[in-house]
Amino acid sequence: MGRFGFVAKRLLQTIPMLFGIVLIVFLVLQITPGDPARQIVGLRASEAELQEVREELGLDDPVLVQYVRYVGNVLQGDLGYSYKSRKPVSEIIGERIDVTLWLMGSGILLTVLISVPLGVIGALRKDRAADHVIRGLGLVGLSMPPFWTGVILLLLVAIPTGWFPAGGFGETFPDKVRSIFLPALTLAIASSPFIIRGLRASIISVMESEYISTARSIGVAGGRLVRRFVLRNSAGPAITLLAIEMGYLLFGAVVIETTFALPGLGQGLVLAARGRDLPSVQGYTLLFALAVVVVYLVSDIVTAILDPRVEIEA
């Protein structure tokens, strides 16, 4: 049984959650004021045209029927058509996902590059000067709105040096790297304080445990101590932390894409929300929620593999 059981249980738990997510996204439609049909056909359309669209979309059916249809469509990958561009939402997402993946990927990379060394230094130099500096910076970092950090980076780095574009996403690979660097750095600055804080606490608690004393007493020291006794025990919490951070990173991406005018999913969501384009808003939201569920799932499975104590009861 053991860990296979844990994975199976975790997968099964995800299913009702997915229905809950789709339900919430669907309910947004129900509580949103205004007539979707009217939005599609425009103000000047006749009552007949309006009725035609209503029937086409099934807006007169009972709510439950609409929900079942919505779930069915989602399961087939059909997220509806944008009110604005009349294109399938899934197609719009396909066009924008590239940028967001770039941003998230490089953002996570920079986050790890910044927070792992600082977290480790903070833990090993606990309550010394370096630790105080890192914690102080973390406190400031937590209070900085990410979009403002972006603005500051534009002001202090992009404008004086001219190395990085103030906005937009490049076509060629070097251009892409140049245009994603500052947004990714912004993302990393916003998310690192959490990771640093969590990693520091996790390493400290491992270093203070008695099994580290045991290891040292039998002469395990230095790199061997870290490799064989510290790392695996603090990796689990660190991975979990990174997974949780993904939720914030996704929101950070929304804000930062807007700051840097990056044509990604986040910007798409903001534009759709401003333009009251309901199917697009639903599509983006659903996708973001799915991403979180998958990331949490993967994180839970990885920590389960790392920790022999995770049996099925966990």
């Binding site: 059981g5 249980k9 049996e311 099925i312 009861e313």
Partner: protein, 328 residues
């Protein structure tokens, strides 16, 4: 009819994951923590219950106080049946003193708030006498009255344990259950608490159930001792008799294993080999058989009953009373 009567009480817990069992198409494993315990106690009697971790002694205590439900069997006090959902007036009559003084008192409340809450909710004394009664309770457990204003954090382990006793006595119980009540205390402060329990029992004519892993401690406070092993009582005898002449091999082993002053440990020797089997996977016949020096064929086939020359002289071993006539 005895004052406190515990009749064939069994307590079960389902353990492990229901999901795992579901996948394997099995029923979730059931752990029988207390397996058919019976004994009677008279008013003012002091019974010691002794055994190692996992023997079910604490679960038995919780079943008697109503903290865990009883799967089968019955408990009655003074002729009244005690079910799991007993009403407060009945619940009041059996009180408990807990093990860990650091977690057995609500850290938010002063001693006076703690005691007066109970006095008020149960209408033990008229409202205007609550303060006086609190002072009396403090005198009873030999604590300074000034500690009424204190919260647990400011008190020592011994003081907290006395407050725990006062809290139990506030409800004027007939039965007091002390569950490992000195185990977490420093050696030098254990004795006064034991002495206090002894004198309170006499003064208030309490029926005392003292639960401990420590035979010597049990001996000091009990008239009669029940030894438990894996959910069963294996021996139930008057204290002095049992300590002079233990009849069950487990009792003998426990007594031999306890460290004694001036006795050197022989290299590699131990009174009891191996470890207890899992309660989920008991051996056939006598459950002590795999570790028992006397184990014979009959022990594999039949589980010995708790029998003996009298109701309070019982042992669950086929060979316990070989040299005596069993009057049944």
């Amino acid at each position: 009819m005895s004052f406190l009567s515990v009749n064939d009480v069994t307590v079960r817990f389902s353990v492990g994951s229901k999901f795992a069992a579901w996948i394997k198409r099995e029923k979730p494993p059931i752990l029988t923590a207390v397996d058919g315990i019976s004994f009677d106690a008279e008013r003012g009697e002091s019974i010691g219950i002794v055994g190692e971790s996992g023997c079910g002694k604490s679960t038995l205590a919780k079943a008697i106080t109503g903290l865990v439900p009883v799967a089968s069997g019955s408990i009655s006090l003074d002729g009244e049946e005690l079910s799991g959902k007993r009403d407060p007036a009945l619940r009041r009559r059996i009180q408990m003193v807990f093990q860990d003084p650091s977690s057995s008192l609500n850290p938010s409340l002063t001693v006076e708030q703690m005691l007066s809450e109970l006095l008020r909710v149960h209408n033990i004394v008229p409202r205007d006498q609550i303060a006086d009664r609190c002072v009396e309770l403090m005198d009873l457990v030999k604590l300074r009255t000034s500690l009424l204003e204190a919260r647990p954090r400011r008190m020592s382990g011994g003081q907290r344990q006395r407050v725990g006793i006062a809290r139990a006595l506030a409800l004027e119980p007939d039965v007091l259950i002390a569950d490992e009540s000195v185990a977490a205390l420093d050696v030098s402060v254990q004795a006064p608490i034991l002495n206090l329990l002894n004198s309170l029992r006499e003064e208030l004519d309490l029926t005392l159930m003292f639960i401990s892993h420590d035979l010597a401690v049990v001996r000091y406070v009990s008239d009669r001792v029940i030894v438990m092993y894996l959910g069963r009582a294996v021996e139930d005898r008057p204290t002095s008799e049992m300590f002079e002449d233990p009849r069950h091999p487990y009792t003998k082993a426990l007594m031999a294993a306890a460290p004694k002053f001036g006795v050197k440990k022989a290299p590699g020797e131990s009174a009891l080999k191996g470890e207890p089997p899992s309660a989920l996977n008991l051996p056939s016949g006598c459950r002590f058989r795999p570790r028992c020096p006397l184990a014979a064929e009959i022990c594999e086939q039949t589980e010995p009953g708790l029998t003996g020359p009298s109701e309070v002289q019982r042992a669950a071993c086929h060979f316990a009373w070989e040299d005596e006539e069993i009057s049944s």
